[in-house]
């Protein structure tokens, strides 16, 4: 699970996050939305241990950040709009590389499983450079779950995908999330977030301005609130 308590982040003098409180329970899928510049990416990078918080407390699976960054990194999987893959390596080589960084046990077996899961077994020896955006993004999900993380972060994973690829990705994201993982996803897509997530939150001016379960929340109501807060 992810626990964020009173999180503040300044870039130089500029405040980006001003006291964010947010918890993602075990097995919960939370979407984080908000206008550009609201601090979504900063928040995600802090949880991902890539950026240090200025103030406040961030815990992932009860490991504190940044003090226990290494333990957090072990249980964290990140899917970003950058695929974090190398075009000059094959699908399998990419996974092998990341598997070695994470010291994954029985790596070859695990790579087989993951490639199966994301439907790329047949393309395992092809260079990632030759992949379509959708295929690369699927492999990138495989890369993110390779070390069986408990907590997953999705940073606008649908960027640059066409409808078909997006639909496929949704299915994959759902199946990845369904395995008891906590998921925090950044997105701009209101209907998609409502459909995928258990809870939707809106970050505005560096604070969580809205937080609601998606159950019984209509798209029209949510869109109205979103537009008001995004002003």
């Amino acid at each position: 699970m992810i626990e964020i308590h009173n999180l503040t982040k300044n870039f130089g003098m500029k405040p980006v996050l001003r006291g964010v409180n947010l918890t993602v329970e075990r097995g919960e899928f939370v979407a984080l939305m908000g206008p550009n510049g609201a601090g979504k990416t900063t928040l995600l990078r802090i949880v991902a241990s890539l950026t240090r918080p200025t103030l406040g407390r961030v815990r992932v699976n009860s490991f504190d950040l940044p003090a226990h960054a290494d333990s957090v990194r072990r249980v964290l999987g990140v899917v970003s709009h950058h695929t974090l893959l190398y075009g000059d390596l094959t699908a399998e080589e990419n996974l092998r590389f990341y598997g070695q960084l994470y010291s994954v046990e029985n790596l070859s077996k695990r790579i087989d499983d993951v490639l199966n899961q994301v439907g790329l077994s047949k393309r395992r020896h092809d260079l990632v450079r030759s992949f379509s955006r959708g295929m690369a993004q699927r492999l990138s999900i495989g890369r993110a779950v390779l070390h069986s993380p408990d907590v997953m972060l999705f940073d606008e994973p649908h960027t640059g995908l066409d409808q078909e690829a997006s639909a496929m990705l949704d299915k994959l994201l759902k199946s990845v999330a369904a395995q008891g993982r906590s998921v925090l996803m950044i997105s701009h897509d209101l209907p998609r977030s409502l459909q995928l997530a258990d809870r939707v939150t809106i970050l505005s001016h560096g604070k969580i301005a809205y937080d609601s379960p998606t159950k019984n929340l209509s798209l029209a109501d949510f869109a109205k609130t979103y537009n008001e807060l995004a002003q």
């Binding site: 870039f11 130089g12 003098m13 500029k14 405040p15």
Partner: protein, 232 residues
């Protein structure tokens, strides 16, 4: 933070100016004419202190860099950048005064003397330091990178000096090193003038550093207020 100049700094301003005037008197009228080098030797009263104080300045940057990396306190970084700029001023003074002296004494503006060469490389390192900082927007990153380069740069200087020294001693120098510089006879008035000038430069160094540090702090403060205003 008060915006008016603190009392000790005001005093330092006045002391610096007074000492400058006194130093001119000492250098040009009190200290006797040196027998071998003549009038040109008087440069040495300003040349030597500015040279060693530039090293002190870059050393301060090294220490401020280490302190910043350990504490992330931006005041250390401000001290670091302030000290680099003051150091560059002193280093350029030392280099130019050295060339002015070398022209009549060694009969050339420039030799590949180890000190001269190392010194020029040193200056280039700190010009690079300034350019590096200019190329980074994020203030935290700028401070961290500046600190790291301040450390790497300063550590390289002794090895650079030593390697160039070896190069010159193993190879015949184009211009023989003039020994008169080292065996210059110091008369008491000369020594007094020399000591005074060193103290004078130390005072000027502290004064400039303080001013530059305050400027840096005030700039940061203005930035902070502007942020507050735009967020209000």
């Amino acid at each position: 933070m008060s915006s008016s100049t603190p009392k000790p700094l005001q005093i330092l301003n006045i002391v610096s100016i007074l000492m400058f005037i006194i130093s001119l008197g000492l250098v040009f009228f009190y200290a006797p004419r040196e027998a071998v080098m003549g009038e040109a030797q008087r440069i040495f009263y300003y040349h030597v202190p500015s040279a060693w104080l530039s090293f002190v300045a870059f050393g301060v940057t090294l220490i401020a860099g280490i302190a910043y990396l350990r504490t992330s306190d931006h005041r250390w970084d401000r001290l670091g950048i302030a000290s680099v700029e003051v150091g560059i001023v002193f280093a350029v003074m030392a280099l130019l005064s050295g060339m002015l002296w070398a022209r009549p004494i060694w009969n050339t503006w420039w030799t590949w003397d180890p000190r001269l060469t190392t010194y020029t490389i040193l200056l280039l390192i700190y010009f690079a330091y300034l350019m590096l900082r200019q190329g980074i927007e994020d203030p935290d990153k700028r401070a961290r990178f500046g600190s790291v380069y301040g450390i790497v740069g300063f550590i390289s200087v002794p090895i650079t000096y030593f390697s160039i020294y070896l190069w010159r001693t193993i190879h015949p120098a184009v211009f023989g090193r003039n020994e008169s510089e080292t065996k210059m006879s110091m008369e008491p008035q000369m020594l007094q003038t020399f000591i005074f000038c060193n103290i004078f430069f130390m005072v000027v160094f502290v004064t400039l550093l303080w001013h530059r540090f305050r400027l840096e702090s005030n700039t940061a403060r203005v930035e902070e207020l502007r942020m507050k205003a735009s967020n209000a």
